[in-house]
Symmetry: C2
Subunit: 330 residues, 2 copies
DNA sequence: TAATCATATGTAATCGATTACAGTATTGCT
DNA sequence: AGCAATACTGTAATCGATTACATATGATTA
């Protein structure tokens, strides 16, 4: 495997000149440039980035930690991140954490070991203190989920306003007994969506009834179970707002199992607008997040932090959108 | 940021001793070891892998190129690859290629530039010659999809046998007029699944009718369109085998739109057993690939190639499984 | 022509680790 | 005590790039 030395020798110049040709960092005579280019082609030379990165103390690599790539919600976000990164000469290293803190930490070692210049967290499970610690020493951005107290930038939608909009839509359809299928976790989005749900009800003078709030784990099966609870308790709402599309689809399956129709008997709303939301029958009414933009903006922010353009943590909210489909249109 | 030099000074030993403590490469006196360990803790030292990797000319990093992370089919495969990699001190770098050859090549540069020790391709779009070229110079494994002529190892299921099994199942259910929704692409799996379909029919003395073969692009919408074709041409099979689950779900949606029932009027089969296959109503009969194992085996193979234990390209087939659900059970 | 300046190029230090080799201290044995 | 073997440690070269600084060359001007 050819090195810069080999190229220099082949071209009859010094390594400095070869380096200058490669990086275009300063003037090189046309003759020398041609000799170097010829030698590079001749030897099929590829610069060894290990050497370069060591010298420059940078890797042009960004870590992206996400719970699982199997969640389609993340795919457009990642696409946005990648597009921005590539536009700026950066590469993205995607890391599946499986929502496991120790896995997260293993991957963070890559940054601590100088194999990445910065990190974006998607739904990290780490504590606020740990995150703050890391953010103090390295460039960090949180995307979608974030820790309120952590001294690190974040980019997300306004989940409270989005949930508020969702529930308002159900109320406008004439519903007064509205269930919520939420999750028992520590994500800020969960808390904020629950808040939005409550505020929308209260604003209409509807009492928040805790027996109408059930919990799942974002997943399809948990949506079935949560909806079943309503039937078991014989306390069935006329509309259900689920904080994930997968749970909403589970809820619909549960409703069908009782011989009821969606939305005629019970209206169902999801959250996230995963691909499948439009593929389903009935099409699922949901809240769309600007996933691609969330990814773009997060990466832009990270690159600025890496570049030292930003020191103080930033907070950026992007717009969400209500997507009305058949599952709530009586 | 502390370096090994700083640790050496703090501990009052040489860098060699520090390195030996870190790597446990040879005997170090208990006293020196303690001094080094203390200094490391004191200075919060993390070895700079850029230096180490340059010296050792390895990165303990494996590239995984996949068309898109949004395809749930890949997620368990990737999980398997990651688990095996981590067990062997390796990290995985996931790269979204968007089925774009130029993107693939950009990512391959990372390996050519010594930032990764090897690469696994999932459904590469590169030509056989290009793949062979790369496999000659670097450790390469192909997973699931592969180029027949490329001189590189591959791990996959036997797609022909799997499709054969699928169609046999439909025949056993009493179907004689069986449609195929395939794809127009150059993937070997497509070709092999079509072959399996044809052989199963011929074996039963059923003539292969080309008007019963439609093409999509793996996606949901293309499944709708393909199924619609049958209705438009007024040449509707009693069962349809789709080479992807998403197209199968599209086909079901199209069938419903005609006021027909699945499986009563038309049976539908998919391929891949994506998560959603079991979430759908009716549950989708499909062929499951051992995704996790495919990932594990691919990575094990790659590590062996990297380690020089394997020189000649290997071919490994894993077992598939027929998953029978409601969509074909009349 | 000599002095000045601009341009092109090369030498060698540097990044942070690993490790061959050499050297020193300690131990065991006779 | 003397010597060999063993255990430990340190010096310095090395990986492959970048780049500050020095130097050589040629062009320009007084």
């Amino acid at each position: 495997m050819a090195t810069i030395q080999d190229v220099a020798k082949e071209a009859g110049v010094s390594v400095a000149t070869v380096s200058r040709v490669i990086n275009g960092s300063s003037k090189v005579s046309p003759k020398a440039r041609k000799a170097v280019l010829d030698a590079i082609r001749q030897l099929n030379y590829q610069p060894n980035l290990l050497g370069r990165n060591l010298r420059l103390m940078q890797t042009k690599m960004a870590l992206v930690l996400l719970p699982t790539i199997s969640n389609p919600f993340y795919s457009m976000i990642v696409k946005g991140m990648e597009d921005v990164a590539h536009k700026n000469g950066y590469n993205v290293m995607l890391c599946n954490t499986n929502s496991d803190v120790s896995r997260e930490k293993v991957y963070l070692e890559l940054m601590k070991n100088r194999l990445a210049d910065g990190v974006i967290f998607l739904a990290s499970e780490m504590s606020e203190e740990e995150l703050s610690q890391i953010a103090m020493r390295f460039p960090v951005v949180q995307c979608c989920e974030y820790k309120e107290e952590a001294r690190a930038s974040h980019v997300s939608i306004d989940n409270k306003a989005a949930a508020y909009m969702a529930v308002k839509h159900l109320i406008k359809q004439g519903h007064r007994k509205i269930g919520l299928i939420s999750c028992e976790n520590s994500f800020i989005s969960t808390k904020q969506r629950e808040e939005g749900y409550k505020i929308a009800l209260e604003e209409e003078g509807i009492l928040v009834d805790l027996s109408l709030i059930k919990h799942g784990d974002y997943g399809f099966r948990s949506g079935i179970r949560a909806m079943n609870q309503f039937f078991i308790e014989n306390n069935v709402p006329t509309a259900v707002f689920c904080i994930s599309d997968s749970m909403a689809i589970g809820a619909i399956k549960s409703i069908w199992a009782k011989g009821l129709k969606v939305p005629k008997d019970i209206a169902v709303m999801g959250f996230d607008d995963i691909n499948f939301a439009s593929m389903y029958s009935p099409g699922l009414t949901t809240i769309a997040q600007p996933q691609y933009d969330l990814g773009c903006v997060s990466m832009e922010l990270l690159l600025k932090v890496i570049g030292g353009e930003i020191i103080e943590p930033q907070t950026i909210y992007l717009e969400h959108e209500l997507i009305i489909r058949e599952s709530t249109l009586g």
